[in-house]
Assembly symmetry: D2
Homo-oligomer: 346 residues x 4
């Protein structure tokens, strides 16, 4: 049994980790860390876990409480995560970090976009970017995995192979992304209130969203050159799900079949990537509460644009599910272990 601890277990990502790990036959959860709810029964914070998760929340001391742990999931906010991960690494423990703190390889870029100093540069240098389907081998060897952001996951999985194979040219990529409100977390604010979000729809952070440099870093690696993308997130009145609609000019004059062949070459053995058929496009309900990423595409003969649509559950493939997948890879388990529940419909 792999002994795991969860830091920040009472946020939505922490709760989703708890849900997935409770169904994982090779894992034992040793603690559910929470400052806000220390000593409260976890099932008081999330009543769905009544009779399923009997533990109390604990406020973990990273100096003392890690002895029996094999791996930590760190679901703390960025800035706080750095400090915790640094200590955990010093204790010689493996970490899957779900914050942004170890995703951006350039300290300067991180500090510019996140407005926080990076105090764990040594750990950062060891971090592997945890896009499971792309960096599986590196993740298997890693001590610290930086779990990708939700939007970047939905964008990188469809774009990485196409840039790598130079199917699409790296300029002029436009990403119009849409997310459910759970992506805003459980900390109350005007932006995630029911009456502000329901029967409403908006774009936000145009040109300034922090997931932009993360997307650009990985697409640049794929393309072998610097890429700048247009990334626009939108807030959708639903709880779960991200749909990204991606536009790129078809400068190489490929056809749909050629694109699909590339996807098949890259993802044929990947259990969580589902390539839809011609004229089928993903719906977020098709991946609800699951670790799948559905991808559909069209080359529009009128405009010669390639339009790619991807759908994920932001809390699963966009966060906790991919983190468990990465843990599986780190511990030599089949990557789908504990993640094979079908999506929920309706």
């Amino acid at each position: 049994m792999i002994k795991v601890g969860i830091l920040g277990a009472t946020g939505y990502v922490g709760a989703e980790l708890t849900r997935l790990l409770s169904q994982h036959s090779e894992v034992e959860v040793m603690f559910l860390d929470s400052r806000s709810y220390a000593s409260m029964a976890y099932s008081k914070v999330y009543s769905n876990f009544k009779n399923i998760v009997e533990d109390q929340c604990t406020s973990v001391n990273l100096e003392e409480d890690l002895e029996n742990i094999d791996v930590l999931f760190c679901a703390l906010p960025h800035g706080l995560s750095q400090k915790a991960v640094k200590k955990i690494m010093e204790k010689g423990k493996k970490v899957v970090d779900l914050s942004a703190d170890f995703r951006i390889k350039s300290v300067a870029t991180y500090e510019k976009w996140y407005g926080v100093e990076h105090e764990a540069v040594e750990a950062l240098e060891k971090a592997v970017y945890g896009l499971s389907e792309v960096y599986g081998h590196e993740i298997a060897e890693a001590d610290l995995v930086a779990n990708p952001g939700c939007y970047p996951t939905s964008v990188l999985l469809p774009l990485y192979p196409l840039l790598k194979e130079k199917i699409i040219s790296p300029d002029a990529v436009i990403i119009d992304a849409k997310s459910g409100v759970s992506g805003a977390g459980r900390t109350p604010g005007d932006g995630n209130l029911f009456a502000q979000c329901n029967e409403n729809l908006k774009a936000y952070g145009i040109g300034t969203h922090r997931h932009t440099p993360e997307i650009e870093q990985e697409l640049s690696i794929a393309a072998g050159e610097e890429i700048t993308v247009q990334f626009t997130p939108h807030l959708i009145p639903m709880t779960r799900g991200i749909l990204s609609t991606i536009y790129a000019p078809n400068k190489k004059a490929v056809n749909q079949q050629e694109i699909k062949e590339v996807y098949k070459a890259y993802y044929h053995h990947q259990p969580f990537i589902r390539l839809l058929e011609d004229n089928e496009y993903p719906q977020t309900k098709g991946v609800y509460a699951s670790n799948y990423c559905d991808i559909g595409l069209k080359i529009d003969p009128r405009t010669n644009n390639i339009i790619i649509v991807s759908a994920i559950d932001n809390l699963v493939k966009g966060a906790a599910g991919q983190a468990v997948q990465n843990m599986n890879l780190m511990f030599g388990l089949p990557q789908e272990k504990g993640l094979q529940q079908p999506p929920i419909w309706p």
Copy 2:
């Protein structure tokens, strides 16, 4: 392996059966019957099942296609179900019927409320009412299980023990029930349109809903006398979930602890009944996509009323989940087999 067939596999209940059975280690699904979608890939009708359920829908011939089947789930509309079940029984196969056709023991009552003649009276006489936690022993011996309605399940599980133990008196029980829209099925109509249901709330079928005689039949059995209840269903702008708020005068002057003792006596070993603590009340999200029934209660000292609140997922414990639970009982498996996924939150 238990070999099962699903009749009416493309309705929401059929889809939920497919989801649950695909995760059941002792079951092999032999066919997914659908007249409307015959020969279409099931994952074209429910795209969540892509790469998970590879079967095509088939229009099953009940005379010929049942040879290799151990048990059928019949998720056809009432009226149609009778005819199918009659044939299946003649072939010597076990059935879990999810329609209303075999729930009501009195043919006259059935025909009055459903406006349909009963043409399978012989089968009806063999049918066991499939409220798993109450009739577990009878279900284990049954060839035909009449799976309870969604509203009745939410009402009977909390009320049955209290009437049986004469904790509450059988007159003046008021049931104010609320359901998500998936309860109206996938057949399109004005009543289940998004723009008619969203940002809307209504009562319907006051005094005339067809689940009334089913509730009264079972509560009368529990009480040992004829019971008439006030049952009012409401349509709520959400996809899944039923919450029933039940009011009864506390004529016997019991206290909350005494009620809880009765529940514990009846349900102590029941994995899917969760009794909440004092001043906790169920939320439908707490049982989302799961087979749990959560129960909370309060005796109001100001009015001396007992108020009981129960929550289920209408498609799981209120339909497909309880059907699988009943199949487990019929085949000697642990009743929770294949049903242990935690509820989804948020």
Copy 3:
């Protein structure tokens, strides 16, 4: 022109007052008071008002800034409202108070249920309970109108005439009420977050909700004797609307026509009360964004219960709309002035 000020203009009730008053041909809004957003343009807080309401929010000094005001709408939280109203009354200004501070005539009852000392008892004694259709004459003469709570409005309008006329007996009234999330206000908290409320349904405050004594006070006045009711509120995943389902035994053996005659006698000239026909029941969408109260009813011959269903928009008839209606009454205007927009559907 009536010159009005709004205290607490940036809560949802304040915003709805602003919307309604901006369409009122006899009213000039002199200030929009807000501590939190002082000096910010009102249309920055509520972007719907861009180019419509050009004012800035101001933090009003009640000692100095009331000179040019004829009437104040006080939409402050309970406890705070007392203090403000006391000062306003001392300045000789009329007030419509939308908090709970002047609804409960018994200081002891108020202090028990609200946990706050009442420091404006002199004003309280002058307050008229602002249920427009019932206390129209008193409201016309009042200097201080205590605008009813949202749930009480939905309950009292249908029940007042029936108790007054002794059509229903005053014991055993059960009120199962359901509200949209805007009733919880714009102050962020776990209870009004999108991801906690969407696809969820719950009962809350069973036997303890603060609207209970307000309902009981007014029903007792109607009945001429002390009434205790069972009142259970529920939170519904929609923004606006309250639906109350009310149960009472038909001890006097009236028929539906007799009940309707009573309603007609009381409400025949009331523009905002709409009595539905037999077998029609209200939907909240039918009153969306309007000041109507729709009422439908059924006597169930099986149980001999009277079931009454009422629907209002909690922010209009349940708050700001009724407040404007009361202002109209206080200033001798037709009560429907400025309130005649049809409900929005869909």
Copy 4:
């Protein structure tokens, strides 16, 4: 008083026309035509209109029943509308047609995209495209106004001035549009069911949506050259609202101020166009149930793209509201007559 008739009054657009016209002081509605609900009280079809609209639906005979009518609103489906408009024009009546039948000036283009023969070419030649803010003068003189589609309205209002002034170059315009479900109408189908749309999000009709040629026709007129756009609609789990996010390369190296100056030049006197400030972006709730079109924009210095976001209520500015605005123009009334209700928030 202008005497109007509504053909197809029981669809959502017809209902919205009825709502707006009932508040219009210069209009008398003479009939509400509906085949499906002929002889039924209109307020039985839309219960919000109880006591407000007392008329019955009638199945109008266009040969006989138009004598007393000044103008017809035709809210029939495309294909049917042609036939009706042809007859109405022959009777010498004015028409605002809300279908697609008279929007596309090229018969060949219409027939290709809509798959229907055009049988009213003579009328088509007289039709004026009813984008009120752009073609106000032509509309004022027109007998037949082809009211724009919902998506095109949201796209053309922000893009028309910029193409006309050659601020943006006409190639490579990408329009990512999102609509609430009421856009799919009230005719029930799998695509507008609550349980299929709620907690779901999808793209549809990529490269093939019928609003594409309408958008291109008008943008080509503005640009003075043929334009092909990339238009991708999405279905959002909300009832009302369209948000369009539009991307174009900033080839002319303009700055935001220059773009705003163009908008001001074109729309300064237009009451329903609201230009947001820098770093403000529209939300559909900001225009809910109103005739406004909100526009926000950003030039992203990193990509040198211009990103424009527009929001409308699809049933008001996207259909019935703009139709009333056009009627006002046709009859010499102020265009905002009857349309000045503020948007509803929350």
